[in-house]
Subunit: 200 residues, 2 copies
């Protein structure tokens, strides 16, 4: 791990607790054991740290959903794969994900608008999955937009409660969330079709 990566790692870790505005360069420097001015040998600005975190993760989410929508699957299978990927990304680096969820608001313009656009695309891709499920008769005819919002709120709130040192693995979290959500989405008469719920 380069020094640059070390700086970013500690910065993100601290941003999780202090927030973007609350984390000062001098606070970060103290944790790194150096002077505030020295940080600028490794990064360009405080904003840059936030931009790196937000856009690196956004890229990961984007790739995951595009891959799912590229492969031929039925809607429940696509949804399971997407949920699994999303949860994996979040749990893999919980600090970064927490900052991603909470602090993107403080991205400087035009980065903030760019970020919102990326999120819009992500949501639109997920909506395609829900719509496919409805069109194919797997899912109840609910409002897809509403379903996406509710799905994502459940997925994203993982950062609020997940404990990497606890007994739940990323896969278990994904399976539980999927089973909860798929029940809300599936047509009532399809609940016996357990093949739609992958083995855990």
């Amino acid at each position: 791990m380069t020094r640059k990566e070390q700086v970013r790692k500690i910065a993100v870790q601290m941003m999780k607790f202090h927030g973007f505005s609350g984390l000062t360069m001098r606070l970060l420097a103290k944790e790194l054991g150096i002077e505030a001015a020295s940080i600028y040998n490794h990064i360009q600005s405080k904003d840059e740290i936030l931009e790196t975190v937000c856009f690196d993760l956004a890229k990961e989410f984007e790739l995951a959903v595009l891959e799912v929508n590229d492969i031929y699957f039925n809607a429940p299978e696509k949804l399971y794969t997407l949920v699994k990927s999303h949860v994996d990304i979040v749990c893999k680096d919980l600090d970064a994900s927490t900052v991603f969820m909470h602090e993107w608001r403080y991205l400087p313009e035009p980065s903030r608008l760019e970020f919102l656009e990326k999120r819009r695309v992500y949501e639109a891709e997920i909506r395609k999955i829900i719509q496919l499920g409805i069109d194919n008769g797997d899912f109840d005819a609910i409002d897809p937009k509403f379903a996406v919002i509710t799905l994502l709120s459940a997925l994203n709130s993982i950062v609020e409660w997940y404990n990497p040192k606890g007994d739940l693995q990323s896969k278990e979290v994904a399976d539980r969330l999927y089973q909860f959500i798929i029940k809300a989405l599936l047509k009532p008469n399809m609940h016996a079709q357990s093949f739609l719920i992958p083995n855990t």
Copy 2:
């Protein structure tokens, strides 16, 4: 509305966009059309604004859930009433609710710990409802803790997307969310029992 209330209202409105740390007294003063020092004729400190917002809303949530658990209802009825109350509180003052959800982390100690305790109690009361549903055979035998987390994540994320000027009323949001969640909670063979889903 007293001047004190006006100050708080504008402050909360601005905190929604700038965050607690990002909102400065001089920025708030400019929006109020006065000098920063003048604000202190109406409030004691910047922290006090945050504390008022967080604890006022916490009180509302607490009262709502205690009332629901006081009345004799079955679990689905209790849950519907709770969802309705929660959504009402959130939609009634979206600015305050947004600050409540995002900025409680920046409460000064010991207020922060006190806030977390109140939230813990709220979650425990909701868990009672889920547990009642399981014990009475209405709900699937899912992990109640997990169900509460998922339920609350859906309820709380309303602040991320709800538009008071849109075409959705608070009651409609509550009904939709309830129908989505109750489907995930109910036993499969009970889905035909539409009486469990209140008329919309």
